[in-house]
Amino acid sequence: MALPKIVSGFTVLPVAYPHSRHIIYAKAHASSSKSSKSTFPADRTLFLVNVPVDATERELSLFFRYAGTVERVIFDQNDLDDTELQGDASGSGSGSEDEDSDAPDSSMEVDTEENAETRPRKNRKDKKRDEPAPPTVVPLPTSPHRTLRKTGAVAHLVFLDSSSLSKALTPLPKARSWPSSEELRGLARYRALYDEQRPPLDIVKAHADTAMELYEFELAKSRRQSAYRKGEAIVDEDGFTLVTRGGAYGKTLGGGVGVANKQFQATGKTGSKKKKESKEKASFYAFQKAEKQRKAIMDLKKNFEADKARIEKLKQSRRFKPY
């Protein structure tokens, strides 16, 4: 069957599989978002839909080699975080941390500052722009292996050269076969993964120790940066004292002001005081008694009717034929 060249604005790129033809849909990347500008240069970025589930960066590069050299491949937004964080954790130290890819690049600096202010105790090991230099974490061994993604996933492909983009978007005369990179797949991958997850104990030790060091370092740093100091209550410009839960009565950060308990926060009710039972007698007057009796009888009848209706329904479904 002849393939359409374009579907909904996407160029159809057939990929030859052993018994079939996989389709990758490609389109020039166009984003309104300011943030992605730097990551995805508009004139060089190809937006791909339905990349093979086990595609690696290398494989995609090989596949698009006919169009030009691929600078990098970003599989999806979340992966962006991952790759950068990973680089971070392994001590490269240079990666700028961008937790929230929606956050504008320019406001990054400010953002981290703010974070540090509002979050004195919740520390993240990746805040380490400031001196002194943070301790390096010994990485756990990783070999490059395939990450499987959900089927039908998208990817951004950044070419080195903007001319490649149009080349990539011209429909292929015939399906290109899917290249294969040296990352392990299948059984070999599972074996490698298994072994890799059980690193030698000394590496585990080194990793854990250094990671803890880094944590301590971050903790210390944030303490320094934090506006909170032990023993000093924090009063903002409007004169409110900041408090947090903890201790027997809750505490200010430093001070000694009580704070509402969790239940109060959740429900707005104080749990400690039991609601007083109303002492009023329910059957004091004769009419109350009579009404109560009447109600009991009515309930009896109501339940009975309800039962009857239910049985009637069961009867309809011929349930009462024992055999």
């Binding site: 018994h19 979050r119 072994d195 854990a208």
Partner: protein, 1160 residues
């Protein structure tokens, strides 16, 4: 009305007695508006319903049931029958007499016309002096339940029975006819003449039918012929013609008491003739129908609720096989009148005898409601052991025969209200024990259950005859090769060789099994109609023996007999006679020397087989039935829970002992070692809690350790080494960091310390920290674990429980930022929240619920011997159908399997009779539950001690992707802990369908090896995609339910280069399955047998079928496709083959083939 013959006579054909309308009014008639206050009448009725019945809905259900089990009262249906009865009567009266002649020559004459005479034993000979003849009946009556209008519909659409007695004139009989079956011969001839005449002149089909195969009880069955002028098929009835004799017959009554010997056999030994109580009873039956009719009629008028109670009792009994059908409890065929008499006993009480003067059963009175009467009758059946204590229903004119005669000559005594005969004369006491057991079980249910709908259905609506769920052991006995060496006396007494044999089997089994069982049931099909050209019933080919164990004694290893002192004492002789060569003299520890039988037990499986082994031994010893003809499915089920012999022998070669006990011992060893580490680890260990099914006897296959040396020598298909999960808890410490990620790192450090310490102590082969996804910064689902590989070959996976983790995760996952919490992590992004949420769920399951669940299940395993077996069978079965773990979690199975043991509402007492005592029965009950359970109904299972449900579990709205089961326990009120991820609607529906099929297989009474295999064989036709894996690579392939031995050969064909170290818990098929499930969660649904299945099956999800518009986030692999006549270009269709190609790539190295199938 399955009362074949004995019910009674009286009213004549036009019985005009109307059934007393006694249901207290139709409740529907009087209620008009729910809003109006009820009238006094209504109120009384409602109150009655509540007070006199189990509950008002129970009463309404009874009212709904009863019309369905009674014959139609429409005239159009009855009239043809009435007409036919008239013509039958006139025909019979006008029949010509036959001259008296020698019975043999008379039979010969009839045989020429194609009519057989069903002579009883001993057959008449040419030489006899007495003659048989025929004269028209002196009286013809409609008797029995039809005449009394109390008849109850029978199972399987069998028509109602109209009993018609024809009274043989006294002139045909002589005083001595009670001797040597002469009366029966005359009766048979009479019947044959009537059969001959009716078959030729009336347009009806005529058959013989002999209750219990006893020729003495043969009746003539007339069933309507369609379209003939006598077609009374509208009445849905058949007519039983029963020859009877008048009360003025010449045979002296006194000669028919139980103690008289009325058969003289040639060449009888010196002992003199033996009494023939059953023979005598059968003679007495000839006068009984009329008496019974009158007595029942009186009872019916006296006690308004009688006929309803009778109907309930009969429906209850029919549903349990006390009557007629393909699988019936022996002895209750044709005992219709007995059930009346049971109610009569309730109403009238007992006649006093010399033996029971002190505690005669008191009459309960006639004003009871039908339900109360029914319940009282059940109470009689449950408490009264008729074989121990004779019962004489209160009669108007005292005893006809001395009561002692009954007790000394009958095995069970229940003398009817006319004091004519013992209705239980030919009912074996094993069958009575079965009845007692069933009545007990029903009473228990009535006492404990809270859901009245459910209980009503169980009592009356559901078929309970399925042996596999009713008896702990079901044994199929082929009688073809049984030696019928009973004496001629026994043949004559019991009426047929089958009856004599079964009576002997029943007695022998009861003696041999004794207190090991609560009940023994002998089941076989009830007698069928046969052509009037056949004199005798075909012989029984097969019977089923059902045993219900007594859990305390069933598996006893030694049966003690009488002491040795009198070698030739009577008791010792009887003991040796019973057990044959198995009996031996033994000296026991306490110094006694007694006769005893010791049952050899090699494995724990064998122990569960002891009762069946006893049956097998006894049947072989006494009846020459070869062991092969006595079959029970136990062995087949056992084999499902064991590795095949050739596999286990390979593991045994490694020298480590396998099984749950060894696993527990290894665990204890580990705990000791961990505790002994002391100062070598930074925090003190406070507790070690196991959470693995291997440590609670609950995994389908027992765990097998593989020491390192053996591991390396094994081929890939043997290399699965299960890891046993264990949680560690440490003392509280302030040193823990206050950040979830840092906590994970701290755990790593702690685990590493433990590993190093353990290794230095040098007791284990290997310890490695499993860091699964520790390197990233994502919040981990499971956290790091420590894998410990002991020298014996056990692998443990140890995790650390840190209780503040929950708080940390909660803090991360909750997004609410209340004014009171300005310090909430403001930058938490949705992904982090989601991860924290998931991690929190995993944490709760892994550290809070799993240990509790483990303790509860381990506790149940100790309380109920059959529980773990049941769990294991259910697991194996679910796995064989590709659902276990992949869709149904092991814990959910453990909870569901506890249901038959614990009941649903009020907790059953531990000795409740309905609790299964064998895994096969538990399995059958779980299957039935799974078949009937609608997933939208939440269930509660009290697996945690005795707490009742605190609140009704409610069903949370679930999306199609989530699990649909709600199984709540007192620790998990929402009931989603183990079922939140599955089974989803598709899997649950599949499971029900498979359970239904399995129940059918179990129910098909032929219990054959093949059938049990069929239970576990999975049909793959339903899958759209089958992914074939290479069995040589699968480490669990040796556990597969149908492993091919070629793939299990020990020779290694493909040497692996990277197999230097053992990989505990490594199962690439499972990893692949998980990957596939995640990757294609919206495209395909996968199914897999975790026990080394060779195939992964999958079905395309309907949400990706057809042509759909192209979307960027479509979530499936597509290819452009246009609808033929549409111009819209942006449409795509699922690219199936490309998906399959990708799957093949993902499993490179061990996928052999991915096969797509077109389903019709």
């Amino acid at each position: 009305m399955e009362d074949g013959e004995p019910e009674n006579s009286g009213g004549g054909e036009e019985d005009s007695m109307d059934g007393v309308e006694l249901t207290p009014g139709d409740p529907g008639a009087s209620s008009h508006h729910a809003s109006k206050p009820p009238t006094g009448e209504e109120l009384r009725m409602i109150k009655d319903a509540v007070n006199l019945y189990q509950s008002s809905s129970f009463k309404l259900q009874i009212d709904a049931l009863l019309p369905n089990v009674r014959p139609s009262t429409k005239d159009s249906r009855k009239a043809p029958l009435e007409r036919f009865l008239h013509s039958l009567r006139s025909h019979l009266i006008s029949m010509r007499a036959v001259e008296p002649q020698n019975p043999v020559s008379a039979a010969r004459a009839l045989a020429k016309q194609g009519i057989a005479v069903p002579f009883a034993l001993p057959h008449p000979t040419e030489e006899v002096k007495w003659k048989v003849g025929f004269e028209p009946p002196s009286d013809i009556n409609v008797v029995g339940s039809w005449a009394n209008q109390i008849c109850v519909k029978r199972k399987d659409g069998v028509p109602f029975t109209v009993d018609v007695t024809i009274e043989m004139p006294d002139s045909l009989f002589q005083e001595k006819d009670y001797l040597d079956s002469r009366y029966f011969h005359k009766r048979s001839f009479y019947l044959a003449v009537v059969a001959q005449s009716l078959s030729t002149s009336l347009e009806v089909d005529t058959f013989y039918q002999s209750t219990l195969g006893d020729p003495r009880l043969t009746v003539l069955v007339l069933s309507p012929r369609k379209g003939s002028q006598n077609d009374f098929s509208k009445a849905h009835a058949k007519i039983h013609v029963i020859p009877v004799i008048s009360s003025s017959n010449p045979m002296p009554l006194s000669r028919l008491s139980p103690s008289h010997a009325n058969v003289r056999l040639p060449g009888k030994s010196s002992a003199g003739p033996q009494p023939t109580p059953i023979y005598n009873t059968n003679v007495l039956l000839a006068t009984y129908p009329k008496l019974s009719l009158l007595a029942t009629n009186a009872l019916k008028h006296l006690c308004p609720a009688f006929s309803d109670a009778y109907a309930l009792l009969r429906v209850w009994a029919n549903q349990r096989g006390y009557g007629e059908g393909p699988i019936c409890v022996r002895g209750f065929e044709g005992k219709g009148c007995w059930w009346n008499e049971v109610l009569g006993l309730v109403v009238f009480g007992e006649e006093s005898t010399s033996a029971n003067k002190a505690n005669v059963r008191k009459p309960l009175g006639k004003g009871l409601s039908s339900y109360q009467l029914f319940r009282a009758a059940l109470d009689v059946l449950a408490r009264q052991d008729f074989s121990q204590k004779a019962v004489h229903v209160k009669s108007t004119n005292g005893h006809k025969f001395p009561p002692d005669e009954y007790t000394s000559h009958h095995s069970a005594v229940f003398v009817d209200s006319t004091s004519t005969l013992n209705l239980l004369a030919d009912v074996p006491s094993t069958s009575l024990s079965m009845l007692r057991y069933d009545a007990n079980e029903t009473l228990e249910k009535l006492n404990t259950s809270s859901e009245s709908d459910n209980i009503f259905a169980q009592l009356f609506l559901n078929d309970q005859t399925q042996l596999s769920k009713r008896c702990d052991a079901v044994i199929r006995v082929d009688l073809a090769r049984a030696s019928k060496k009973q004496s001629a006396y026994e043949f004559v007494e019991y009426g047929s060789s089958d009856n004599a044999l079964l009576a002997a089997i029943s007695k022998t089994l009861q003696r041999g099994l004794g207190d090991r069982v609560q009940a023994i049931g002998i089941f076989h099909p009830s007698s069928k109609m046969r052509s009037i050209t056949d004199a005798h019933n075909p012989l029984l080919s097969t019977i089923y023996i059902g045993l219900t164990y007594n859990s305390e004694n069933a598996f006893r290893l030694v049966d003690h007999g009488p002491p040795a002192d009198g070698q030739d004492s009577e008791a010792g002789r009887l003991f040796r006679q019973l057990w044959g060569d198995k009996a031996e003299l033994r000296r026991f520890k306490d110094g006694r020397i007694v006769e005893s039988v010791v049952w050899e037990v090699k494995t724990s499986d064998d122990r569960a087989h002891i009762p069946v082994a006893i049956v097998r031994h006894l049947l072989r010893h006494h009846f020459g039935i070869p062991a092969n003809d006595v079959r029970s499915p136990q062995n087949y089920f056992d084999a499902k829970l064991r590795l095949p012999d050739e596999v286990s022998s390979i593991f045994q070669a490694s020298g480590s002992s396998s099984g749950f006990k060894s696993a527990l011992a290894a665990f204890d060893g580990l705990v000791k070692r961990l505790k002994s580490l002391g100062d070598q680890i930074p925090l003190a260990l406070s507790s070690v809690s196991p959470t693995s099914e291997y440590l609670r006897y609950a995994s389908a296959l027992g765990p097998v350790p593989i020491p390192q040396s053996a591991y390396l020598a094994l081929p890939d298909s043997y290399r699965y080494l299960p890891t046993i999960d264990v949680n560690l808890e440490f003392e509280k410490s302030t040193k823990w960091p206050d950040d979830i990620r840092a906590v994970q790192k701290a755990k790593l450090a702690l685990l590493e310390a433990i590993a190093t310490a353990l290794l230095s102590a040098n007791k284990i082969t290997r310890a490695s920290v499993c860091t699964a996804d520790c390197s990233g910064s994502t919040i981990q689902q499971h956290g790091p674990s420590l894998e410990i590989y002991t020298t014996e070959g056990w692998a443990f996976s140890v995790r650390i429980w840190y209780d503040r983790e929950a708080t940390l995760l909660e803090r991360l996952s909750s997004s609410v930022r209340t004014p009171a919490r300005p310090l909430a992590p403001s930058e938490a992004n949705p992904r982090e929240q989601r991860e924290a949420q998931q991690a929190l769920e995993t944490y709760t399951r892994q550290f809070i619920h799993a240990p509790r669940h483990h303790r509860a299940v381990a506790n149940l395993a100790h309380r109920f011997t059959a529980y773990v077996g049941t769990v294991r069978l259910v697991k194996r079965w679910l796995a064989a159908h590709w659902l276990l773990t992949t869709h149904v979690s092991a814990e959910a199975v453990e909870i569901i399997s506890a249901r038959p043991f614990l009941g649903s509402g009020a907790v059953l007492p531990d000795d409740a009779s309905s609790i299964p005592r064998s895994k096969e029965r538990g399995f059958a009950q779980v299957l039935e539950f799974l078949r009937d359970w609608k997933p939208e109904e939440p269930i509660f299972v009290p697996i945690y001690e005795d707490s009742a449900p605190s609140s009704e579990p409610t069903v949370a709205a679930v999306s199609s992707k989530q699990g649909v089961w709600t199984i709540s326990t007192s620790e998990d009120n929402s009931g989603r802990m183990w079922t939140s991820s599955g089974p989803d609607a598709i899997a649950a529906r599949r499971l029900r369908a498979i359970a239904k099929e399995a129940c059918k297989i179990l129910h098909s009474t032929d219990i054959d090896s093949l059938d049990v295999e069929r239970l576990f064989s999975h049909a793959t036709e339903d899958y759209d995609v089958l992914i074939e894996l290479d069995p040589m690579i699968l480490p669990r392939y040796h556990q597969s339910i149908n492993a091919e031995s070629s793939a299990l050969s020990k020779d290694r064909t493909i040497p692996q280069e990277d197999d230097a170290t053992p990989r505990p818990g490594f199962d690439p098929a499972w990893l692949l399955f998980q990957d596939l499930q995640v990757t294609y969660s919206d495209t395909l649904k996968f199914f897999y047998d975790v026990y080394g299945g060779r195939y992964i099956g999958a079905i395309w999800l309907p949400i990706v079928s057809g042509i759909r518009p192209f979307r960027v986030m479509g979530g499936f692999s597509s290819t452009p496709e246009q609808k033929p006549n549409e111009k819209n270009k942006g449409t795509v269709v699922l690219n199936k083959q490309a998906v399959l190609d990708e799957i093949e790539r993902l499993g490179a190295g061990f996928i052999k083939k991915v096969e797509a199938r077109e389903r019709s």
